[in-house]
C-alpha cells in the first residue's frame, strides 16, 4: 500500500474557523477540498503537512448562486461534476462546463472541486513521481533538489500549469474571493497565477479560496479545447479557452487563454489585438492563430514532444474560434476527430 504520511485532521464547519486553524499552525497546515490532487501528492511525499484542514463540511462553499444576467457565484467546494452539469453554467458559461467535464475522469470529477482545480499543483515528469523515483534521480528544484532536470542551467522551476478550468475562468474575467486572518480580498483570476513552477499562485499559505465570481455573460460565447493522449484521466498538455463576443460580422471582444504549457495560464494578448474590432474572416482567424505560436512555451516535461504541443496551440485556437463562430470543424474539443465530421 502507498500510504499517506500521518497528520492531524480538522474539519471546521465555518470559514472563520478554517482561517483560524491555518493562522494558528502557519506553514505546517494545508487545506484540502476534494483531495484528488493533495492526497496523491502526499502519498508521493511531495507534501508532508502536519495539519490538514478539510473544507468539505463548510456548507457555504458548496453553493452556486445567480444567473447569466447578474453573474454566477460558485463556491470553491462545488464539485467539477456539478459545475459541468449545472443548468445556468451549461446554458451561459459553456466553456467552463466543458472544461470541468473534461477534467480527469468521472470518479475524480465527483470528488474534485472547482476551487481545487484552480489551485491544482503544477506538474512535471521529474516531480510527479514517487519518493523512491525522485530520490534515485537526486530530486528536483521544485522539491528537495537544487537543479531543474528539465533546464539544468535555469534558476527557476518549469513545472507546467495543469488546471483545465483556469484558462476559462481567466477568459471569462472572473474574480476570486480569498479569505485570511487579515480579512478578505478579491483578485482577478488573471492575477492569481505566477509564471513560476514552485510559487505558481498569488495566494498566501493562510489564504483560502472561497468563491469564484463569474461576471454577467454579456454576449460572450466560451469554449475550451483540451489536448491529451487519452480521452480520460490525463491532465491537459495543452488547453485553449476562448471567449468571443460578436457585433454583426465584427469581433466586439475576444479572450484567448492557454493552459498546459508555460507555468501559468497565458492570455494571448497579441492574438486578441489582431481580432478585436475587426470583421471576422477565415484569413484573419489564420493570422490570429499564428500569433499564439511564439508565446507558447512547451518544454520536455509532460506527455508528447514539446514541439507538437507548441504547433497544436494555433490549431486549437483556430478550431475553438471556428466552433464559436458556428463554422464547420472536423474535430471534437478533446482533440479527437469526430466521426460525424
Amino acid at each position: 500500500m502507498l500510504r499517506l504520511p500521518p497528520f492531524t485532521y480538522y474539519a471546521p464547519a465555518r470559514i472563520e474557523d478554517a482561517v483560524k486553524i491555518l493562522a494558528d499552525y502557519g506553514p505546517d497546515a494545508m487545506v484540502v477540498a476534494g483531495g484528488t490532487d493533495l492526497y496523491p501528492n502526499m502519498k508521493r511525499r511531495q507534501f508532508e503537512p502536519k495539519i490538514i484542514v478539510g473544507l468539505r463540511q463548510i456548507r457555504e462553499l458548496h453553493r452556486i448562486n445567480g444567473d447569466a444576467k447578474t453573474g454566477v457565484t460558485i463556491g470553491a467546494c462545488v464539485t467539477l461534476a456539478e459545475v459541468s452539469q449545472h443548468p445556468a453554467i451549461l446554458a451561459s458559461y459553456r466553456g467552463l462546463a466543458r472544461a470541468a467535464g473534461l477534467v480527469a475522469n468521472p470518479q475524480i470529477r465527483h470528488m474534485g472541486t472547482l476551487g481545487g482545480n484552480l489551485c491544482v499543483d503544477t506538474r512535471c515528469n521529474y516531480y510527479d513521481q514517487t519518493l523512491f523515483w525522485r530520490q534515485a534521480l537526486g530530486y528536483c528544484l521544485k522539491k528537495d533538489g537544487a537543479i531543474c532536470p528539465v533546464a539544468p542551467g535555469s534558476q527557476r522551476c518549469w513545472a507546467v500549469t495543469s488546471t483545465d478550468t483556469a484558462p476559462v475562468i481567466i477568459a471569462l474575467r472572473a474574480t476570486l474571493r480569498l479569505v485570511s486572518p487579515r480579512g478578505e480580498r478579491l483578485v482577478a483570476a488573471s492575477d492569481f497565477y505566477r509564471d513560476d513552477g514552485i510559487h505558481y499562485l498569488n495566494k498566501e499559505a493562510d489564504e483560502i479560496l472561497t468563491e469564484i465570481l463569474l461576471p454577467p455573460i454579456d454576449g460572450l460565447k466560451t469554449t475550451y479545447w483540451k489536448l491529451r493522449r487519452r480521452g480520460s484521466f490525463d491532465f491537459p498538455v495543452l488547453g485553449v479557452a476562448v471567449a468571443l463576443a460578436q457585433e454583426g460580422e465584427r469581433c466586439r471582444d475576444v479572450r484567448i487563454v492557454t493552459g498546459g504549457v508555460n507555468s501559468r495560464p497565458m492570455e494571448m494578448t497579441e492574438a486578441e489585438r489582431i481580432l478585436i474590432g475587426e470583421r471576422i474572416t477565415p484569413d484573419l482567424i489564420e493570422r490570429v492563430a499564428q500569433a499564439v505560436y511564439r508565446p507558447v512555451k512547451a518544454l520536455d516535461n509532460t506527455d508528447f514532444v514539446p514541439l507538437y504541443r507548441k504547433k497544436m496551440a494555433p490549431v486549437f485556437v483556430k478550431r475553438a474560434l471556428r466552433e464559436l463562430l458556428g463554422w464547420p470543424i472536423q474535430e471534437t474539443p478533446d482533440g479527437h476527430t469526430s466521426a460525424a465530421g
Partner: protein, 167 residues
Amino acid sequence: MDKQLITLRVNGEVHELAIPVHKTLLEVLREDLHLTGTKHGCELGECGTCTVLVDGQPVLSCLALAVEWQHRDIVTVEGLADGPRPHPLQQAFAELGAAQCGYCIPGTLLTAKALLDHNPRPTRQEIKEALSGNLCRCTGYIKIIEAVERAAQRMAAQTAFAESAAR
C-alpha cells in the same frame, strides 16, 4: 498517532471504528472492515480499481479519507448482490466473460451500477464515458460494455414487468 472514532455506513451496516485519521477509505474497508472486494491498484487516482459508491456516485476510495466520508451511504462490491442472487450486472459480466483477470471488476461493476441507476437506458457512448475512469488491462473493454448493455436491458425489462404487475 491521532486516532479518531468514526462512524461509517457500508452496505447498509453501521460500523464504529477507532482509526488513524490519515487512513484512506480503501485502507479502512480492506484492513479494518475486511471487505477485500475493493481492490487497490495505483492508489494515486490513476486506475479506478478502488471505486466505491458514495451516495450513489462513484468515487475513488484510495483518495478518500475515511474520516471525511462518515454518515454517507457507502456501497462496495460486497453490497451489490441481493442475498444469494447476483446483481444483474454481475450476472451479465459472468455470462459474457467480461471479467478476465477480474481485478478491475469490483470498481467497474459499481461504476456501471451508478450509471444504470441514473440512466437506465444508456447509449454505448454513454457507457464508454461513464466507465472511462476504470482501466481494464485484459478485455479491451468490448465485453465489459456488452455486459453493461445486457444488464441494462434486463433491468429495464424487470422494471417494466414490476410496473405492469403493480397496475
